[in-house]
Symmetry: D2
Subunit: 362 residues, 4 copies
């Protein structure tokens, strides 16, 4: 049973390989009557697009999205929305030399082990190029969430050991504006400069580096999340872990919460407001797997990109020693382009849970 | 759309509340012909059972499991296996005083917000008592994995800030034996003693503390995991995050991997053996979402239990200030009893992915 | 991938074999706040219960249903509702002689071929006893539909070649009253007498006979059904065909519609009323897979029960000739007891589609 | 929750409207290593294509299929196969006059009632044009079945009251050859001529007529089908009922079986062969929802096409009386083009159940 579908009521199915004809996605379950802004979808894709700055891969893809179905006179009709992004700059011959060789820490060996066949061109289906389809679909999810007043904001909170300060006190609009002013997409300008400089030095070394993205969901109403397995944070965790290169997920107090005592960790309710706020938010806006109306926050850890510009020892499909040449076009650090992917996946989870919650009570 | 089902081909659906008649589970999709050892299922439940030591809740439940269907002459028949665990010691009146009050960092408010009704007795469906059903189902998944030679081992790797050393060099059998020799279920005896002492002191303070559980899956064949959404680590992450009190998940290099460079992080292939091993294992046994035959490892972070023996300020359903009395029977630290829950959920993911993989190629 | 779950948002999972400990069902997705009347559930089961008249099997089962979870203070809580029906009168030794023999037109051979193992006692999982679980779950679905004013009525419209007249002109309440006045559950008293006499004579011959059940869903709002695969009639058809012994399904004009011309078959709209009625109803209340507000009607064909009181030639598991003795306790005609099963499955489809439709538009 | 996905392990998701950019489908779960013959897929589409004879609609569509993903060097890779069929001849202005008018026995009113918006051009998503995507996907399912030696054959068995004789005695190859020799796709040449003449006369009347398609699945191994809900015939029934204009489904003895006695209906086992054959086949190759190795047979009833070349009284969206002009390009009888759709849906069910059965036993 394949795993190319995500979500239940707001559901996407992606297709396409790095060097095939096109990548794309079917969005099924978007309620009818939602105005669909094609320019917004495109602007989201532009944030993930390769070649956008000196610290991203130089592969040239305009990533121009086409809508094939599901929209009539600017609105969703309730039928499947198919989105297509043709591949343009696929230099498959760059990969000829790797045809029977397994690149270290890539999915070359595991795809071969699983399927007995692999499309070696640019990683085939395992390439992060597939995430463009997610971003396009996520843009539609964001439009749905906007209709309900829910916003999503992510930014780069760490590159290597360079960490951004806690920005929870700043308003989202300001964070968003600051994030878009720099190419690393960190909302703290000073940290951003440091990160950019560091990534650039890593790139010059022919090396790569990991990082972290933090995300905030604001104005989420209480009640989203489906116990006991489809808890809101469990679905968010799965969504994030399904993104290429992600090795960790935490929400609320996260890993540091495991070091705390209950008396310090409990979020005490305040009595003002119809929806009770809490004094602290170690719960990360989710209790018992259901949103409580507070800000939802989580952090995602990305490993360093496996493709480096160094020669590496490896094996081929026959089990013999082989060497990988360090060439091609790749990202020294994936997190600046992944910010919009994190947002897209978060939006898809929220849209799905929003629709699911419609039948939680009479 | 409710979320009480987990898995696709090896699929479980749990039911039951903390203080209802019974909790239970249907296991659907277990292949026919598997010998089912009821004593093994019971022994797994005994590891999760309340009241097993001085550092767990004193609620008395024998947690005796009954098989209602799906087994004939000691073997699975391919039909649904229903498992029932009657509730015995439900002192619902302990919770009368909390009927309209929201306990801090519990799911009282969110269940009310979502469903407009809540079973306040012991947390109702949000209680970790539901995980007994998971353990029973997970025991059957373990029997299936054993048939294929796959083993799962988890232990308590941290309590508060007390961390166990890295035990990767020790053989699983030894780790397992050492783990069962102490009540905190840490495989390092010295650390175990320290943890027990610490939990006991926290208990005497009427407080609680968080911790971490680390898990190893050994002898997993290459090929398990379904890109691009149902990656093996994404399913494991969701499974773990669906366990009560879990706030974080990481696999392989995890959060620390985000600080590394690609040149150091890449796992170089070795040329010995039909299945290529790697020199390091920062990938955690999973590449591109698919197992590569190396040991799979991950860590799960648990927040401190919310029920403390202190009085706490809170609000009631009318939004008025109220006070929670610190009474009842609860765990000072959840991780010793959660070890077998982590193993059960891991087993359920592996069993599901194992069956899913049967149709990955002709 | 097993198939013991039906529905998506209102979803049931059944378990249990004819001669096991119990049969039962989990109902997941019932919205919170629905009053659950246990006596109503029991009264539905009583209509399916064996031993209720001279024309049904004489197996004695009280079919007493227990609720294990999901109900608090008489209302659904939004959590899974588990229903249990213990087996009482399972004379497994009646089946010892058939242990290795395949009964003609039963599922003995196919279960063995599929699973490599079979529970031979009373047909195991393939027994129609499993439908008791569906009736219990269907009763809850009916309560949900009643909340929305939707009613379901089925009756026996044919036994062998004895057909009831078209009763579409009579009000549902009258049809229901008439149906309950006779043991064959046909709403036309004269036909009912003829049917009963015929079934009784078939029973005395040690033989069995097939029949048909017709069903009407009234007050169904327009909009239910999910194109293009989960059309309302496609889901109804699957639901009916999943009932033991069903060999055919038709809705609206059905098979006779295939002989008509479009000019005669088209249902012309009338201009009175907010929801346009149609002059005729060859569409059976469903157009393009979506309910149109007219009465939904369909008919289900049941084959004759395979267990007859005659000796029959057959084969055993070794492929050798064998003889089946005609003994045991079985129904000469299944349709009187199946009326409530048809209603239950229809209710489950409608409840599911009702919830699914909640997210069809903004 | 939308319903544009069919199948579980071999799963398709279709998209596209009659007059949109394109229609298409994602096939997910096709095992890796299957040779994919694009010409075969195209030849299947050619059988469904409009404009192929005087008794089909004159809409001009080449229905040229493109493969966007999932195939590498002529073989399936185990990743999603996306198939695209651009729309060419969409004269949307033909439908301008119907923009606010509900055509009788079409889905105009119900789509409006459900979604609050409708794409009126050519029926939008409700158009049978969507079935081209099913035929393309079904062609891939057929290739998979061929790999396992399973064949599917359907033909037109009735048009109006003209019925083909029972052809069960003839070999499939001969039936197939005879079917392809006439434009109505009936395997009996004499009946075919009669049908063609009749359809042509109906067409000249500006009218339409219904019909029936019968299907045989041969060389199906025992064991396919998943009790208790996903019985093989229940899945086939749902698949058929999801095709536009289908009003009925029966398998094996079908509706006439409801008139028989058990003593005549039981299929007696024969002792020759490893897989026991039966003397008769009233079971239609399926017992207890699982294939028994005999030929599977079923029949599907199609209502007459609703679009006729007569003027008809109707209502508009405001509830006012309106008139529909009889114009446009449509089929006088849908069954000749639907033969390959029936085969495609049957192939999709079989492919799915074949993969599902891989985990039925150890």
């Amino acid at each position: 049973m394949a795993g190319n579908t995500f979500g239940h009521l707001f559901r996407i199915s992606t297709f396409g390989e790095s060097h095939g004809e096109a990548i794309g996605v079917i969005v099924d379950g978007c309620p009818a009557g939602l105005p669909i802004d094609l320019e917004f979808i495109q602007s989201e894709l532009d944030k993930r697009r390769p070649g956008q700055s000196k610290i991203t891969t130089q592969r040239k893809e305009s990533d121009t999205v086409q809508i094939l179905s599901g929209i009539f006179e600017g609105q969703s009709t309730g039928t499947p929305i198919a989105l297509l992004i043709p591949n343009e700059d696929h230099r498959s011959k760059d990969y000829e030399h790797n045809k029977t060789v397994y690149r270290p820490s890539h999915a070359d060996y595991t795809y071969d082990a699983k399927y007995g066949i692999r499309d070696h061109r640019g990683g085939g289906r395992s390439s992060a190029r597939e995430t463009a389809a997610r971003v396009a679909a996520g843009a539609i999810a964001k439009l749905l969430l906007q209709h309900y007043g829910i916003g999503i904001f992510a930014h780069v909170s760490a590159v290597g050991t360079i960490n951004a300060p806690n920005l929870a006190a700043l308003p989202i609009a300001e964070l968003l504006a600051q994030r878009e002013e720099n190419i690393v997409r960190c909302a703290d300008p000073a940290t951003a400069n440091e990160m950019i400089e560091f990534i650039d030095s890593v790139r010059k070394d022919g090396d790569t580096v990991g990082g972290k993205i933090s995300c905030i969901i604001h104005n989420c109403p209480p009640g989203l999340g489906e116990p006991v397995f489809d808890k809101l944070h469990a679905d968010l965790g799965k969504a994030m872990l399904s993104i290429n290169a992600v090795h960790g997920f935490e929400y609320g107090s996260g890993f540091s919460g495991s070091e705390m005592r209950g008396s310090a960790h409990n979020d005490i309710f305040l009595t003002d407001g119809a929806i009770p706020k809490t004094l602290t938010n170690f719960s990360g806006g989710i209790q018992g797997g259901i949103s409580n109306g507070m800000e939802i926050n989580f952090t995602v850890a990305f490993k360093p990109v496996a493709t480096i510009m160094h020669n590496q020892q490896t094996v081929n499909a026959a089990g013999e020693a082989a060497e990988i040449k360090g060439k091609g076009r790749h990202d020294p650090c994936v997190v600046p382009r992944a910010v919009v992917i994190v947002e897209a996946m978060a939006a898809l989870v929220l849209a799905d849970q929003l629709l699911r919650n419609k039948s939680s009570r009479l």
